[in-house]
Point group: C2
């Protein structure tokens, strides 16, 4: 008798990190439910990207949830605040950036937990990364562990003795290592963009924090980023 | 110099429990932000009630968030599943009822956490109750404590050293004791209903779990429930 495949809910934004996580989940033979959010982000193009990426990986169970985090304001990703632009990756600091969205990963993971219960999935995977984005509190290992502890008390499934694990396979990797891993798994990074402030044709700006980290990661791999940028310089 | 008042985010459904919590928060002199959800529940009348109750308590900062938990199905509160009806409060069991909505309180608290960060509130209050609803996993003290631990790692506010506490003042009270407490604080329970399956005029059914517990609580106080019921028997 064949052992049934394990199921995972993968948070998929359509960016570089979450696409790599999806590739990891598929390489580990999970049956995947992909979960994306239209949350009022300015870079809403990412959900269309997420759909194309889910299809590319043969994930037919892709759920896009509509929520509106603009109600909380306070972030350059959702409110009328300019996305900061910088010249070089070395300009990034350890401060929590203005692109931080209040409790965003807690909210995303709460939905993923509900979906894991409904799908009877024992794993939730997400692409948070503490090295190259140390500024975000909800990207740290201690946050992920605490969420897992809470999750294992929160659901009917948990009461029935079925554990859920919150897996963040990129959490201790640099952007360079993430790209290396994804390329080894055959990820086509031209399908992803990471920009917080793309133009109307979805071309990346090349100078927000997300673009700088991504460009630097490709450069460290001796590669050109295959994403579309507004300037030919990238 | 006057000490600034403490701020609290209160989850307010418009039912008996959360209205009592709002009364407690006001009696403790918190500046209150009330937070309600239209989440696809059949008993959506509760958000109109919540608005009237917030106004009654002089809470002008009342935010109603639109989310759609129907995407998860599986609950008699959100899906096309009949709300179970019973004859008497003694018919209730310790099993998790079909009215359980996957990870609902985790999702509600995640939003409350975001709101607490935005309002710089150090307290989130909710009306969960482990005695008369032991069936719901996300109404237990260990869940609330684990959520608080996670919350204190999740936000920018937490990183800045400002703690948030998740307070569930009713968690160890019986429905009878909750009503007693609310009446002592002057709560007008005729403004609240608790029914999972009201009719078009928002009259309570009198035989769902929520109605039975509520009716029993008033009876134990030697009182008639002032809410409107479909039958004169209640």
């Amino acid at each position: 008798m064949k052992t049934p495949k394990r199921k995972a809910v993968v948070l998929l934004s359509g960016g570089l990190d979450s696409t790599t996580v999806l590739a990891i989940a598929k390489s580990e033979d999970y049956v995947v439910t992909a979960l994306s959010f239209r949350y009022g982000q300015k870079h809403v193009h990412e959900t269309a990207q997420a759909e194309a990426i889910a299809a590319e990986f043969g994930v037919s169970d892709h759920v896009v949830v509509e929520i509106d985090l603009r109600v909380f304001g306070n972030s350059a990703l959702t409110a009328d605040i300019d996305v900061p632009k910088k010249g070089h990756v070395q300009d990034l600091t350890d401060d929590i950036p203005i692109t931080y969205v209040p409790a965003r990963n807690t909210i995303f993971l709460s939905y993923a937990l509900a979906m894991a219960e409904v799908r009877d999935a024992d794993t939730v995977m997400l692409g948070v990364n503490s090295l190259d984005y140390s500024g975000y509190p909800d990207c740290r290992p201690e946050f992920v562990d605490a969420f897992e502890d809470m999750a294992n008390l929160a659901t009917k499934r948990a009461v029935e003795g079925k554990k859920v694990q919150i897996v963040a396979p990129l959490i201790n990797l640099t952007k360079c290592e993430i790209i290396e891993k994804g390329l080894a798994l055959g990820v086509d990074y031209s399908m992803t963009t990471s920009c917080y402030d793309p133009d109307n044709e979805n071309k990346a700006c090349g100078s927000c924090d997300a673009c700088l980290l991504r460009l630097n990661g490709f450069e460290q791999n001796g590669l050109k980023d295959p994403a579309s940028y507004q300037s030919e310089n990238f």
